[in-house]
């Protein structure tokens, strides 16, 4: 980066404010979860792991977390084939009505979440699917599908079509071309997309809130329902589960594809 001193001062001031704002809730939740007192105070009442001991005993929290994992798994397992195929098709082929199809596939982003959530609630309700977990997973998949398609198209545009032709020319039938040339080439996109889908479904709140009932609450909904005016540290300790999942996802993303992939221009 080149430039004058005033430039770095202005840039760094804004970036520092952004960094503090971004990190403050995470840091505070982490800190609060280790407090020794019954309520979160400043300065804290010493350090302890008692809230972790407490949440590990609570079966409703554990079950809610397992349900959330289930939802995220359904979402990811559906998104991988659907998004990969659509992404490759959009990136590689000259499709008729391409523009319309793109706009259509962006619907999950243009329709507000509350609209999508209520629409899916009515659809699943009519079909009698409510009260189960898999519709929540499908719903999370639908609303985040553009992320998966983006990730795949981004890596598929880097694939030289001549490679596939060369494979076919050497006698590879279509499926073999797909599995040994096309798929490996878009793999970084598939990995990025599926990690995003998993983590977004894990955190999905509004659509879960609309689609679950009291028997099958997911963890974000449970946390939301438990937030009261008095702030107790056990919620902070559960929230750390999400921070840990987030950290694992970032680590995997960085190891498998590199975080820099998000900086690449198309």
């Amino acid at each position: 980066m080149s430039g004058s001193r005033s430039k770095s001062i202005v840039l760094w001031t804004l970036v520092t404010i952004a960094l503090i704002t971004l990190s403050a809730p995470t840091v505070v939740v982490l800190g609060a979860s280790f407090t020794g007192g019954n309520i979160i105070t400043f300065p804290p009442d010493g350090l302890s792991l008692r809230w972790y001991a407490r949440i590990s005993q609570a079966s409703d929290l554990r079950n809610a977390f397992l349900r959330t994992l289930q939802v995220a798994t359904v979402c990811t397992l559906v998104a991988i084939p659907v998004g990969t195929l659509a992404g490759i098709a959009l990136a590689k082929y000259a499709v008729r009505f391409e523009k319309s199809i793109q706009i259509y596939l962006l619907l999950p982003f243009t329709i507000p979440l509350i609209g999508s959530g209520i629409g899916l609630m009515l659809v699943f309700g009519k079909a009698g699917f409510l009260g189960q977990l898999w519709p929540v997973g499908i719903a999370c998949c639908v609303i985040n599908l553009p992320f998966m398609i983006w990730a795949v198209t981004a890596s598929a545009t880097g694939l030289d079509p001549d490679l596939e032709l060369a494979a076919a020319n050497c006698g590879a039938p279509p499926l073999q071309v797909f599995f040994s040339v096309t798929l490996p080439a878009v793999m970084p996109g598939v990995i990025t997309g599926s990690l995003l889908m998993f983590i977004l479904a894990l955190n999905e709140f509004l659509v879960s809130l609309l689609l679950v009932d009291a028997r099958i609450v997911t963890l974000p909904v449970l946390i939301y329902n438990s937030i009261r005016s008095i702030i107790t540290p056990d919620l902070a300790a559960i929230s750390v589960v999400f921070i840990a999942c987030s950290a694992v996802a970032i680590f995997l993303l960085d190891r498998l594809v590199g975080l820099d992939i998000f900086l690449k221009s198309k």
């Binding site: 804004l14 809730p25 505070v28 400043f42 659907v82 509350i114 639908v142 599908l145 279509p174 198309k266």
Partner: protein
């Protein structure tokens, strides 16, 4: 005989069988239709949303009979009339729209330098640090982040406790409009930076150097070179932040404490508190329309920016 078997391993046999099946159900002459077949599952899945919209439209035309709590069988536009005339909904709509505009402006002001520094820095370590600091909150979810702000800003929160130590009376820092705006900006920052960064990567650094060597200072270089070239990023980021904050539910609900409802909260209340599904559906439909008009307007005026997901066009 054994030698022949190893020469043609099992994996190949399976692949042959699969190719045979594939060729039987999807012969080569269908080849031109292959991309459509690949798009089909995604189209069907998104079709669920279209079905949902149809259901919402249907519900919006039925009015609730308050004596029997039944919905009318025949259609009427009474719900739309109510939605447009009741002052409460006007206040809520105004509040959400103004918030969305402010949040978009503030978020872009902070997201641009973040994205710029992240793209332009020569230190891979700093870049990784900025990326991690961005993704960690992005991957944590709204509820937990809003909860973090409650711990910091709440009536018995850290800031007020700290103020108490120095002898200042506690202040009400949450359950007001600025708190919701602040929470939304924090929520939107990662989205905005991630939409801006690819557009900034696409700008060759030499252009800035060239502007500098021709005598422009960094402010002029930004205004005349970097910002115009980053337009696709600003469009993408702006659209995403505008629509997401306009339609947000969790931040107004948690940091607004019921006094700062946005459109999404009003819709939720109609469905689950008042149980007037028809009016709720009407509001939802109007929000979908408002969002689509905003997105359509931006796209029509400026193009899809970094939001386009098809083949790259030279």
């Amino acid at each position: 005989m054994r030698a022949a078997r190893t020469a043609y391993p099992l994996k190949w046999r399976i692949m042959d069988a699969l190719e045979g099946v594939a060729a039987a159900i999807w012969p080569a002459r269908f080849r031109r239709a292959t991309p459509y077949l690949m798009l089909l599952p995604a189209v069907l899945l998104v079709g669920l949303l279209v079905l949902g919209l149809i259901q919402i439209a249907d519900a919006s035309l039925r009015t609730l009979d308050t004596t029997t709590f039944q919905f009318s069988d025949d259609y009427s536009i009474a719900n739309f009339r109510r939605a447009l005339t009741e002052p409460l909904f006007l206040v809520v709509a105004q509040r959400s729209l103004i918030a969305a505009l402010i949040v978009t402006a503030v978020t872009l002001v902070f997201a641009f330098p973040y994205a710029y520094l992240m793209v332009r820095t020569r230190s891979p370590r700093l870049r990784k640090f900025l990326l991690i600091a961005l993704f960690l909150p992005f991957f944590i979810g709204q509820v937990v982040r809003a909860y973090g702000w409650l711990i910091i800003l709440g009536n018995q929160g850290m800031v007020n406790e700290a103020l108490g130590v120095v002898g200042i009376a506690p202040m009400r820092l949450i359950y007001n409009y600025p708190a919701v705006l602040f929470g939304l900006v924090q929520y939107m920052l990662p989205f905005a930076v991630l939409m801006l960064a690819p557009a900034l990567t696409a700008i060759p650094e030499e252009l800035e150097a060239a502007a500098g060597s021709l005598g422009a200072n960094w402010v002029r270089t930004f205004i005349h070179v970097v910002l115009p070239l980053a337009r696709p990023g600003f469009i993408g980021a702006g659209v995403v932040v505008l629509t997401l904050s306009l339609t947000d539910f969790a931040v107004p609900a948690i940091l607004g404490g019921g006094s700062q409802d946005f459109i999404a909260n009003a819709i939720y209340d109609q469905f689950f508190r008042t149980s007037d599904q028809g009016l709720g559906a009407t509001l939802a439909l109007m929000l979908v329309a408002l969002g689509s008009i905003l997105v359509g307007l931006v796209f029509a005026l400026f193009g899809a920016g970094t939001l386009a997901m098809g083949r790259s066009r030279a």
